[in-house]
């Protein structure tokens, strides 16, 4: 262990905060879908991976990064809606575990399809943004931008949910599904829109991740389980809880990772997660019942 309370420690803590933005964004999409439709998308990270490849190839194909990013968001939004329509809708009346497993099938499929289509090599989009130095600490611009955009995305979603009709319907449907038709709301439509938004958020996360990480088909296994942990910790379906949980978990990862090998930071995060859930099973914040 190589851990002192020095400037490197502070740097790790702050990097943890920056990481939290991205994790919070990821957790948001998953929580939204769970809160509204009551399904866990085990393949969520794979959707992000698909987005990352999409953005990579669009950019390589000549599109400026921002255009590629928008294309990526749209791509994953469509993928999310499609996944709901083809795979989840048929099993909505089966026990919830089957709904989770069905997305497990999608996980296998997407990872394998990506491997066949793109090969196992790591790819980097090659955009270097440099870093900013302050007080002997160095922070990558990519991370800072990611944090800012993630917060922006979260705010945008919040506005959508509180100001628009569809957003209000999305909030309402998770509170009382059965009476929605009485107000002229077609629940299936709301689910599709929610799935598209969940996908869109994953696409946004993909755009941010592409700037920081190399892409390979199994990348979903690296952060997928982590995002589930964050959501359960904050209370499945509780978007604010997920946000806070993201900050907690990312501190474990960042500080643990700087003091010890990377795996241990994550391992401790998972251990913390299990202990925390045993102490308070419904998540750190009272989730929707």
């Amino acid at each position: 262990m190589d851990c002192h309370l020095d400037i490197f420690f502070l740097e790790a803590v702050l990097n943890g905060v920056l990481l939290a933005g991205l994790l919070a964004l990821l957790a948001l999409g998953l929580n939204l879908v769970f809160g509204v439709i009551d399904v866990v998308w085990i393949s969520y990270a794979e959707l992000v991976m698909v987005g990352m490849y999409g953005i990579y190839y669009a950019h390589k194909g000549g599109a400026p990064f921002l255009v590629a990013a928008v294309l990526g968001i749209v791509l994953v939004a469509v993928a999310g809606a499609l996944m709901h329509y083809l795979v989840i809708r048929p099993v909505l009346d089966q026990p919830p575990i089957n709904q989770l497993l069905v997305t497990g099938g999608v996980l296998f499929f997407l990872q394998a399809a990506a491997t066949m289509a793109f090969g196992v090599e790591f790819r980097s989009i090659g955009i270097r943004l440099g870093s900013v130095n302050a007080f002997d600490m160095s922070f990558a611009w990519a991370r800072i931008i990611t944090f800012g955009v993630a917060i922006g995305g979260i705010l945008a979603l919040w506005l959508f949910l509180t100001r628009t009709y569809m957003g209000t319907a999305i909030r309402a449907i998770s509170q009382d599904r059965q009476i929605m038709p009485l107000m002229g709301v077609d629940a299936r439509r709301v689910y599709l829109v929610t799935s598209a938004i969940g996908g869109g958020l994953a696409g946004l996360a993909a755009a941010l991740m592409v700037l920081q990480y190399d892409i390979y088909p199994q990348i979903g296994l690296q952060f997928g389980p982590l995002v589930f942990m964050i959501c359960v910790l904050g209370g499945l379906g509780n978007m604010i809880g997920g946000f806070v949980a993201a900050f907690i978990i990312s501190q474990f990862i960042a500080v643990g990772g700087s003091c010890m090998a990377t795996e241990w930071g994550y391992a401790i995060a998972f251990l913390f997660f299990m202990v925390a859930v045993f102490i308070r099973p419904q998540g750190l914040f009272a989730a929707k019942s």
Binding site: V40, V87, P90, V91, Q94, P95, P96, I97, N98, Q99, L100, L101, V102, G104, G105, V106, L107, F108, F109, L110, Q111, A112, A113, T115, M116, G119, V120, P217, L221, G224, P225, F228, M229, V232, L236, A261, E263, W264, Y266, A267, F270, L271, F273, M274, V277, F278, P281
Partner: protein, 356 residues
């Protein structure tokens, strides 16, 4: 005592004689065919172990943790402490059981069920996988490791038998049969009814005096033990283990998929699942080797094709055949039998249909 039906006896005899049939029918390539059979039986054993929990609604995505612990404990104790697997395997099994109980107890006490339970087990399997990779000085990290070969690879003391495929086959056959016996013992026991009741309605079960937590812990411990044993034997046969081949989410999902495909509440369901998945991957492998087109197109990613098909099939199975292959066949057979029993004798007049 387990009553063995005549059909089962014939089946068992056939399985015992199978290696000789293979030797006779495929001279020269018997090693390969025996390897396929061994894989089927080994994984069937692991799948059967998982299904002990799965059939009662305790769907775990974390059994990769137990197979991993079993495998790595055995190999590491052999490689670094020279401890014979005759002791190493029980230690691995014991550790798995302890871990299972440590995680299971709070889960069951706190009524963590369904997809919450699945996500908890997912956390467990990831935690174990991360520990395995983190201890890279011992485990070789993501690259995996091998048990040190004893002599020519066949050793009773080292529990190694891989070069002799026929021997390996019988070892694994015994293991598989053992798993079936355990499944049957539980199926015929009071615990089975208690767990079925708890699966349907936990409160009602508790109110008739069933100690739900204890029942669940019992079956969890057995399930973890079997999978740890299976993982350890996997390591002894393959002579190579890796964090992604015998641990982790991928392995966990593979187990679940195979049991769903085969049939979850049925004795031979997991075995059918093993047959199905192994034949599928072997079949695909052979097809890819044989097809120039596929080889060119997929190159090194050819292995991914079977995973893609698994994924597709898992989705299709859950949507259209949630009982699995064997489960659906058995249900169909039962329905046909029931209809036959209800049909009136030939001489009777048909019952008029009620006015709509």
């Amino acid at each position: 005592m387990i009553r063995i039906s005549p059909a089962a006896l014939v089946g068992l005899a056939a399985l015992i004689l199978l290696p000789w049939a293979v030797r006779f029918g495929f001279p020269g390539s018997e090693k390969y065919y025996l390897h396929v059979l061994i894989q089927i039986l080994l994984w069937a054993f692991i799948y059967t172990g998982w299904s002990l929990m799965g059939r009662f609604g305790l769907t775990s995505l974390g059994h990769g943790a137990f197979t991993g612990i079993g495998a790595y404990a055995t190999v590491l104790l052999w490689n670094f402490a020279g401890l014979t697997p005759w002791l190493g395997i029980p230690i691995g099994v014991a550790v798995s059981v302890v871990v299972a109980l440590l995680v299971g107890y709070p889960c069951f006490r706190l009524r963590i069920k369904g997809h919450y339970f699945a996500l908890m087990t997912l956390a467990l399997t990831e935690f174990i996988r991360l520990c395995i990779v983190g201890l890279r000085d011992y485990t070789g990290g993501s690259l995996g490791t091998q048990p040190a070969r004893a002599g020519n690879g066949i050793s009773l003391y080292a529990v190694q038998f891989e070069p002799d495929r026929v021997l390996s086959y019988y070892v694994v056959l015994a293991l598989w049969a053992f798993g079936l016996v355990v499944w049957l013992r539980i199926d015929r026991s009071m615990d089975r009814y208690a767990l079925d009741a708890a699966n349907q309605d936990e409160d009602a079960a508790a109110s008739v005096g069933i100690d739900v937590t204890r029942e669940k812990l019992k079956v969890t411990a057995i399930s973890a033990a079997l999978c740890a044993l299976g993982g350890a034997m996997y390591g002894q046969y393959q002579m190579y283990i890796g964090p992604d081949t015998i641990a982790g989410l991928g392995v966990s999902l593979n187990i679940v998929f195979a049991v769903i495909a085969g049939g979850i509440g049925v004795l031979l369901g997991p075995t059918v699942g093993a047959v199905f998945t192994q034949l599928l991957s072997e079949g695909l492998r052979v097809a890819i080797q044989g097809s120039g087109f596929l080889k060119d197109w997929l190159g090194s990613a050819a292995l991914a094709l079977d995973t893609a098909i698994y994924g597709l099939l898992l989705v299709l199975f859950i949507i259209y055949m949630p009982k699995g292959i064997l489960g659906t066949l058995l249900a169909w057979r039962d329905r046909v039998r029931a209809e036959k029993a209800l049909r009136p004798p030939e001489a009777a007049r048909p019952v008029p249909r009620r006015a709509a």
